[in-house]
């Protein structure tokens, strides 16, 4: 119990440390939110730009700005976007579902295709087929995604006209029935999800293959084979469960990434997700939104670490009991 209290106390300190550093870094980056107004527009006078600096409180010392920000965050008030005046929490909440839907679907897709491919590669290790498969996966991994995405959009969307080019909804989505809506979203997600899975596929399947090859060389596999079990049972009953375990750790680490989104994909496919929100905010120096997204990221990462620690502690008494030994 003592261990958890200490850990959580440390987390709070760590959290504010992270926010202080992020706050300092983005404010010290040259430029400011009022630049987008005065973007070389002769109608915007220097006085007006100064007035806006004052309104946003940007003329005060950095530490004071951080203090008032931290105070508000303590009461879960992330402020309003400089760019459009909407509450930061609202903007983030609007972007999360799309990003989450896309990344979860693409992760499922990666697992559904990557694990079997990895097994296939491990079983046929060193054969010609394994070589071809490796080469294809490597090619998929190395393709610049934006280029592949544009080719796919051009081929399936413009050439064949079987899939929509961009967006996640049809134009007059609101006039559709419930089932039409589901079909419409699914239709729009095919290209972005399969393309974003393309790059991840190579990693997971290679990882799976390497693990399985390792496990297949273990003594207990030899024992299983020696006692006359079918190759099928050996593979799926004994080898696979052991080979999949490390994969779970890898998945646990990818949880914060699920909400990160991808700027490239979201821009090319015109999907209003987290990646684009963050990217646009950075370029507009929209500090409240940037900080909101960073805080979310910090919480997820810390939570992920905490859960990992907890899981290790649950499994390994040496960590839990610490100095008593």
């Amino acid at each position: 119990m003592n261990y958890f209290l200490k850990r959580s106390g440390g987390l709070v300190v760590l959290f504010f440390g992270i926010t202080l550093i992020s706050f300092a870094v983005i404010h010290l980056a040259p430029g400011g939110p009022t630049d987008i107004y005065s973007q070389m527009n002769p109608k915007v006078s220097a006085e007006a730009a100064e007035k806006m600096q004052k309104l946003y409180g940007l003329d005060r010392p950095l530490l004071e700005q951080y203090g008032s920000w931290a105070k508000r965050v303590f009461f879960f008030d992330f402020g309003r976007s400089f760019r459009d005046g909407r509450p930061v929490t609202k903007k983030i909440a609007a972007a999360i579902p799309v990003t989450l839907l896309m990344s979860v679907l693409s992760l499922l897709f990666i697992l559904a295709a990557g694990i079997p491919l990895g097994i296939y590669g491990a079983v046929h290790e060193g054969t010609r087929r394994d070589g071809v498969l490796s080469a294809v996966l490597l090619a998929g991994f190395s393709l610049p995604v934006f280029w592949a995405a544009l080719l796919a959009m051009s081929y399936f969307g413009v050439g064949l006209r079987v899939l929509p080019v961009a967006g996640i909804h049809s134009l007059f989505f609101d006039e559709m029935t419930f089932f039409e809506k589901i079909r419409d979203v699914a239709w729009h997600l095919i290209l972005p999800v399969s393309l974003s899975a393309l790059a991840g596929l190579a990693g997971i399947s290679r990882f799976m293959r390497a693990n399985l090859i390792q496990v297949l060389k273990e003594n207990y596999i030899r024992t299983a084979r020696a006692k006359g079990l079918s190759e099928r049972k050996v593979l799926y009953g004994h080898a696979l469960p052991n080979a999949i375990l490390p994969l779970l750790t890898l998945l646990g680490l990818s949880v914060p990434g699920l909400l990160g989104g991808s700027v490239i994909f979201e821009s090319i496919f015109s999907i209003p997700g987290m990646g684009r929100l963050f990217f646009d905010s950075v370029f507009a120096r929209d500090y409240p939104v940037i900080m909101g997204v960073l805080v979310l990221g910090a919480i997820l990462t810390l939570l992920g670490n905490f859960l990992a620690d907890w899981a290790y502690a649950a499994c390994d008494p040496r960590i839990r009991l610490g100095e008593k030994f």
Binding site: D35, M40, V44, R80, D84, G85, R86, L150, A166, L171
Partner: protein, 529 residues
């Protein structure tokens, strides 16, 4: 003769049938277009980005507007008088204009908009134009008297700012997000839906004071990637998009594209230039600036970077506008004259390395431009080669916009920049070239100072009649061309594709959007309900 006449009438009847289609028959369909960014705020005087301005233009009206020939004309004001030698502008407002919620539009709304524009807690970037206003009176609901500190003719155009309703905003907590996402204007369209990051849907205002627009719905789809927008154009999912020169010239020649889209090209309201830091000893000498101007082959840049869709810029005014002196041409391309000028200024290649030098200093400088603008970077590279030919070494550095503005231009830590200015039909270049505007954050960052130019710019601000102002600006145009604080490079063309089903499109100096409310689609060609 008679027979021919009859044939003529038959001809007239057949081919002008669409023109005679009744108003009700024209009404319908939707215009779907793309926007590269999401509008930030639809309140006209808070809308500083082009995406917001474009949408808010259809929702709100100003007191005045520019017509298709870029002349100021009445909008919410039917006309105006200039009184007391230009100190007072009296606007006569249209009667029977109603806000989209049914309330009548009156002078009170104008007064309210003015108070908001000058209110210190309203984050508007456009307050500057109204600082010279001493008072604004509304003697009756349809008259607005604006009194200026001194006669200020550019002030008239500043009243094209969209007027907002007092009854909905008087208790607003700025930046008034509730209203900015559900705006109520006087304009031809009203906003019915805004899905963040995805699209905005506008519906025709049936009670619009100039008559309801024919196109029933306008949809702005937010497509941040221009390539995606082009693919959407190729599948007819959007009806109009801005094209790059490459797309315009090489990728839109397919039979499909030709039958479905019409392409338009017209000079944009902007120019690209090289600005020299005149406080830098390198560029203090006019001969050096002129030599650089002569060493650059402008048509070459236009042909390479813009694939020919542009023209050489001659000065800081709209290319075909009334303020520009048509007699002034661009500075020519003459490398030998450039070399001679540099020699006159004392620059010679004594070290024999191909680069000129004077008093031990090599003629080498760095030009800055903003990151992400490939056209500008390409122009820099072409210029680099041409300057090398006359013995000048030019390095190129691209910087992120904010950094360039704050750290280099704002602090005057640059030698030369390659940038562009957006222009409006109001030509006043005071902020850019007047010697009083060289302070930090102000726009005469090249520190140009010429007493005659200063005087001309001050004088032009005091005069209202266009013909008289034009004479002054023509003279100013000559001085700037002679002094060359900027080397004016080119005016790019705006390139647009528009679906052919839209009829009534009328290209004019103002572009094609000026009569949007008169565009229509024939019944059998409609695509959307």
């Amino acid at each position: 003769m008679r027979v021919r006449n009859r044939a003529f009438f038959l001809f007239l009847f057949l081919f002008s049938a669409p023109v005679f289609a009744s108003a009700d028959e024209r009404r319908g369909d939707a215009f779907v277009t793309s926007s590269i960014a999401e509008p930030s705020n639809l309140i006209p005087f808070l809308a500083s980005d082009s995406a917001s301005a474009e949408v808010s233009r259809l929702l709100f009206n100003g007191l005045v507007k520019y017509d298709k020939n870029l002349k100021l004309t009445g909008d919410l004001a039917s006309d105006w008088d200039i009184e007391e030698g230009g100190l007072v502008i009296v606007f006569h407002l249209r009667k029977n204009v109603r806000w989209q919620d049914g309330e009548p539009f009156t002078a009170r709304d104008v007064a309210f908009t003015f108070r908001a524009l000058t209110n210190p807690s309203v984050p508007t970037p456009y307050g500057g134009d109204f600082e010279k206003v001493v008072s604004l009176e509304t003697p009756d609901p349809h008259t607005v008297r604006v009194r200026y500190k001194e006669p200020f003719s550019p002030g008239l155009a500043s009243w094209s700012v969209g007027i907002v309703p007092e009854h909905l905003l008087k208790d607003a907590d700025w930046p008034a997000t509730g209203f900015s996402r559900n705006p109520v204007g006087t304009g031809p369209y009203k906003l019915v839906q805004w899905t963040s990051g995805e699209k905005l849907v506008l519906r025709a205002n049936p009670d619009y004071f100039e008559g309801a627009p024919f196109i029933a719905r306008v949809v702005y789809r937010i497509l941040p990637e221009p390539t995606t927008a082009f693919l959407e154009l190729e599948t007819e999912n959007i009806d109009s998009a801005a094209l790059s020169p490459l797309q315009f010239k090489r990728q839109t020649g397919t039979p499909f594209f030709k039958t479905h889209y019409a392409k338009y090209a017209f000079p944009s309201f902007s120019y690209t230039y090289i600005g020299y830091n005149l406080r830098n000893p390198l560029f203090a000498d006019k001969k050096v600036r002129k030599a650089i101007g002569l060493a650059i082959h402008k048509q070459e840049i236009i042909d390479t970077v813009l694939l020919g869709y542009g023209r050489a810029a001659t000065g800081p005014f709209l290319a075909d506008g009334w303020a520009a002196d048509p007699a002034i041409g661009p500075s020519g391309f003459d490398p030998s004259r450039a070399k001679a000028l540099l020699a006159e200024a004392g620059w010679r290649d004594t070290s024999g390395d191909g680069i000129l030098d004077r008093g031990g200093r090599r003629f080498s400088f760095t030009i800055l431009t903003n990151w992400g603008n490939t056209d500008r970077k390409m122009a820099c590279e072409i210029i680099q080669k041409r300057l090398r030919d006359v013995g000048i070494e030019m390095n190129i550095q691209t910087l992120e916009w904010s950094v360039l503005l704050r750290e280099f231009i704002g602090k005057k830590r640059f030698e030369a920049v390659l940038l562009g200015w957006q222009l409006s039909p109001e030509p006043d270049p005071y902020d850019i070239f007047h010697s009083s505007k060289t302070g930090p954050g102000q726009f005469n960052f090249v520190s140009y100072k010429n007493e005659e130019a200063d005087r001309l710019m001050e004088e032009a601000r005091r005069i209202f009649p266009e013909a008289e102002r034009a004479k002054i600006y023509h003279r100013l145009h000559g001085i700037l061309s002679e002094d060359e604080p900027y080397t004016f490079l080119y005016v790019p063309e705006s390139l647009v594709a528009l679906h052919r089903r839209f009829k009534g499109v009328e290209p004019a100096p103002a572009g094609i959007g000026h009569n949007f409310i008169e565009w229509y689609v024939l019944k059998n060609e409609r695509k959307y309900r």
